[in-house]
């Protein structure tokens, strides 16, 4: 699991790669902190390289979405496919998130 965060013109871009399993989730939540701190801005998460995400990882995404909604920012997930798309659908997250 890896998350790479870039800032461009006040917008934030995150690239998620690999497996976010339960063992890795704590690190994932920590790595998300810079995004949580900027939840009032526009955030885009690229999931093209994301292979797997467990419920702890989903919680991290949910928290970020709730924070973003509360602070008037925006959160978009891009390139959601395969396994990750399936999991988002099973949990009803596909309706909560802005997915492109």
């Amino acid at each position: 699991m890896n998350i790479e965060i870039k800032e461009q013109n006040g917008s934030y871009f995150g690239i998620l790669t690999g497996w976010i399993d339960t063992a890795e989730a704590t690190k994932f939540l920590e790595d998300m902190n810079p995004l949580m701190a900027n939840a009032d801005k526009s955030i885009e998460l690229d999931c093209a390289q994301l292979e797997y995400i467990c419920s702890l990882g989903l919680r991290g995404l949910l928290q970020l979405k709730q924070e973003s909604a509360a602070k008037g920012g925006s959160l978009i997930l891009t390139h959601v496919d395969g396994e990750v798309k399936k999991i988002l659908r099973l949990t009803g997250f596909d309706r909560l998130f802005n997915i492109r």
């Binding site: 890896n2 467990c54 909604a69 396994e83 399936k86 949990t91 309706r95 909560l96």
Partner: protein, 536 residues
Amino acid sequence: MIEAPNFEYKYDLAYRKSFAARLSFRIMGIAAIVFLAAVALFFYFTGDSMTLPLTHQIVKYGTVVFIVGLTSLFVFCTWAIYQMARPLRQFAESAVSIAGGNLDTPLPKINSEDELLQLRNSFEYMQTSLKQHINDLQATTASKERLQSELTIAHDIQMGMLTTVFPERDDLDLFASMTPAKEVGGDLYDFIIEGDELFFIIGDVAGKGVPASLYMAVTRTLFRNLAGNYQSAANIMRQMNQAIASANESLVFVTAFIGVLDLRTHYLTYCNAAHNAPALITADGKCQLLDAETNLPLGIEDHYRYEEQQMPFPENTALLLYTDGLTEAMYISADGGRKLFGEERLLHDLEKNKQASAIEVIDYLKQHVNVFADGTMQGDDLTLLFLRHGASRKNDSTAPRRIIMKNEMTEVSRMRGFFLSVCREHDIDEETFKTLNLAIEEWVANVIGYAYPKGIRGHVELTAKVVDGVLTLVIKDHGTPFDPTQHAEVDVNAELSERQIGGLGIHLVKSIMDTMHYERTADGYNVLTLTKNIKD
């Protein structure tokens, strides 16, 4: 052997043998010349009165007096010089005795303060400094001998560490060897078979000799402890790296290649920490270097994320792991020209030996390196490990497979390795594997996180079997009772602000699997049984 000079220091008038005699003869010679000169002068001045009886008298008695005087002078001189030269003779004796090893030989007593005293002082100084040098030499020799014998013991210990009992199985032909350039080396290899998995490593500690051998021992022990059922190659590498990097005062690094070969499903997973890419003989007989992406060597950055690769490893595929002692074996010609063994020669050798057994391949390569070097000294440790995957054993594919995990969160990655092997055995595709793995992981992570009180060791056991296209998973733990079927359903249709953070895991298990059944046994186990039809 040098012979000691044989001195006979007896009083001897023979001209060459006595210092005193030589001096006395010289004094007498001078006296005789003086006398003859005096006689000549006498006759020259008294030539006319030679006939006078007085003159005759003078000459006659003068001669007698002179001869008597000369004789007395000779005797006196000889005696006096003999006396003075006595210490010299004693010095000569002492020197012979000292040369014979008796450093405490007494020196003659000198009461005068002349050159003899200087000689005596010099002798004394020679005695003490000889003693000092001999003591130093003895100490150096002793410590060198001790070091040498310790190195010999270290060599034996190191060789004893390397596994030399090779598996005797139909589905695996494996052999390895390590030849250190000095008494001890920094190369290592090791392998363990756990269940249906072969874990193997080859490594090279930077540097040579004793410092490298200490790291070699550490690296090999870490591998032994970390390799185990369904542990992934990258995970083993990561943990080894953390252990080495966290206590690496002398900034030593280790290059290594770790492979995990699933003998049941013919899959190889591997992770390369800046080691030479192994050579591969494919099932259809092609010899090439393995595509092995390079990660950082072990010991440099403790949080480095090691990545692994995987590939099918069908019957008759073979792999040769080696250290740079092979490809960088050198030949130096008489005119100083240098030539390296190189990868091309290696692949050529493999091409010639593609049907040979592991022992034959390794013997051939070692011999070829020797012939190639042609007497040029071996500069680096040389380690080789060859393995060929033979025809798999016939497994009863309906027999259940099991993994027992500790209540530690890192165990979920081991579980993934186990379940991947199960899925491959039953031709379950990658996407389905991920989805099913999520369901199991959610439950197992729940058990690991909450079933046992904090700080209490516990286990969770996962059994998998596939019968008639139905995958049945049984997960068992000895923790506090928890019935997921009684758990309130998560409302997946709730609005964002009302979505609860918890409860997702159990929801995922239920939605992914076809059936879920919970039982609390009389002997205190939570047993969760999950099934899934995987026919389609």
